[in-house]
Subunit: 337 residues, 2 copies
């Protein structure tokens, strides 16, 4: 009971048993990949795999948070346990705090089948996609069959997060500025479903029609050309919704379910599962290397090498090679837990 | 001359000699860390270290590109060689293309002391910050004493890019939406200088006054509390500018020079240089591991393990440990070039 590992396994059991405090603490541990998180995940991971992981992304100002809140309410109306991981980009240094969380939580206060959690976008060892995938697995193992990952689709890491979802929804508002339009074009390439939110605003129908035309064109152009593209048999569906008054939200949840069920035998869900596995494993490998470099025994040597690189006395490839030579025997040793 | 490495060293020599085509090809190679890029960087890196690397970041819609174009024109009026690395978030999958580049290039067409380059925000092996730092070193070694890195400050990777600059400028417009305000608050923590752009618009003076008050408050609250915070002896200066008619731009360039010169003996520039070194070295290490995992000899084994993780038959930590055991001897071997 005194080993840190025991803490992880206790947290895992308590979280599975329904303790929201234990679940919160576990997710905090997962974000920084503590030894306790590793112990917990080794227990929980085999119990996961059944949840539908839905990425909700889009440019800023599209009303993602409000739409997710409406989707949560709709899922609860259908008696489903639902969790939200909101990736918070607001503070790159301190990690920030999502104000909206508290507001959205109030509606479901006391409801044990809703869990809403914000994660800092920055400071994830081994990458945001990896720890997000691990967090989703924890929620999955704790009984949440529907997990939303909400992220602003304007950064490299944030789009990577969207790529690990079983289903990716891109949300936008009818009218948006030029720079945001450019972002949108890129985001559409990862969309399984597109939502024109704030459907009560003027121009929503026209925006949806334009999107359909753009997507038809894009699909024709890209047919089988990009190795990075996911298999996409047909143009993603474009739906209208309003997070504010929940118009179109039941149809959206039904479409999400349809996407999940309809593609069960297709390549896309398997590709997403492999992407999740890869993000986690590569993230853990990167952590192991970093731990070895910055361990008490090596830190001074690592710092001295970086100072030489900073002074341009040594190039970064030569520094990396020296570190790898030093790690040659050290790295595998660092992996025993 | 037939080894790929020779290509890298030839490109390096030609780029140093003034060939813009060679420089372009070299930066393309650096983005994907080819063996040629490695060879070139080993030659060029010791020749770099003198340039002032300035990060220009901020929420979408702040007019960063226009401001950078005005700064480039001002630097040329002062007879300085200037380069721009524009990190393009527009397409996460295909890499996108910055339309603005061509427009901005026209003004300086035929001017050999201006070099403008867009880099895809996605698909960088070993991380965007690392390859951006390497690209800046290449430009530095090729005689560009002032290197702007322009990036939308809304993603984890993009903010990391800002953190490797000697001086980080956060740009915003007078009026912006709520979600963007939240991003801004985080961004301000990494700012050395803040610019209220579009200073001709109503509310610009008020926005600047609010920012100064917010920064004074923030500085008082944070004094020495966050380990992630950079050393910041005083509140960052808040300037008004208009990229469109270049009002305030000469003063901004002078303030940038002042920041660079005034802090030469302080902690901040050294911290930035260490951050650049670390981003490059850790990026190269991550690449080396990834190369080893996905080499022809190991690919099948790696894929089989990931499929087990995807099927939840094996947890990601166990998979990572197995891969590390396999790499135990393989990894150092993969580093000889």
């Amino acid at each position: 009971m005194t080993r840190p590992a025991a803490t992880g396994s206790c947290l895992a059991q308590e979280a599975r048993g329904g303790s929201r405090l234990a679940l919160s603490r576990l997710l905090t541990a997962v974000e920084s990949r503590t030894p306790g998180a590793e112990e917990a995940l080794r227990l929980l991971y085999p119990l996961a795999g059944g949840a539908h992981v839905v990425g909700i992304t889009g440019p800023p100002g599209g009303g993602k948070s409000t739409l997710v809140a409406a989707l949560v309410a709709e899922a609860r109306a259908r008696h489903r346990a639902v969790a939200v991981l909101a990736i918070d980009p607001s503070s790159p240094v301190t990690g920030g705090a999502i104000l909206g969380d508290r507001i959205r939580m109030q509606q479901h206060a006391g409801d044990r089948d809703v869990f809403i959690r914000s994660m800092a976008a920055r400071g994830h060892l081994g990458g945001l996609a990896g720890t997000t995938a691990e967090s989703a697995a924890v929620l999955d193992a704790c009984g949440f069959g529907l997990v939303f990952i909400e992220t602003v689709g304007t950064g490299q890491s944030e789009v990577e997060v969207a790529s690990i979802a079983d289903t990716t929804v891109v949300v936008q508002a009818p009218e948006m500025g030029d720079e945001i339009q450019a972002m949108k074009a890129g985001l559409l390439e990862v969309a399984d479903l597109v939502v024109v939110n704030k459907s009560d605003r003027p121009g929503a129908d026209r925006a949806a029609a334009q999107l359909r035309a753009m997507l038809d064109l894009g699909n024709a152009e890209r047919a089988g050309t990009s190795e990075h593209s996911r298999p996409r048999p047909k143009r993603p569906e474009v739906l209208l919704a309003s997070g504010l008054d929940a118009a179109g939200v039941p149809e959206l949840l039904t479409a999400l379910d349809g996407h999940h069920a309809g593609r069960a035998g297709a390549d896309r869900p398997q590709a997403a599962r492999i992407a999740r596995a890869r993000a986690q494993v590569e993230g853990i490998l990167a952590d192991r290397s970093r731990e070895a470099l910055w361990s008490a025994a090596r830190r001074a040597e690592t710092e001295a090498l970086l100072e030489q690189v900073a002074a341009h006395e040594l190039d970064p490839y030569a520094a990396a090679d020296r570190l790898l030579q030093q790690l040659g025997t050290g790295q595998p040793a660092a992996t025993s837990s």
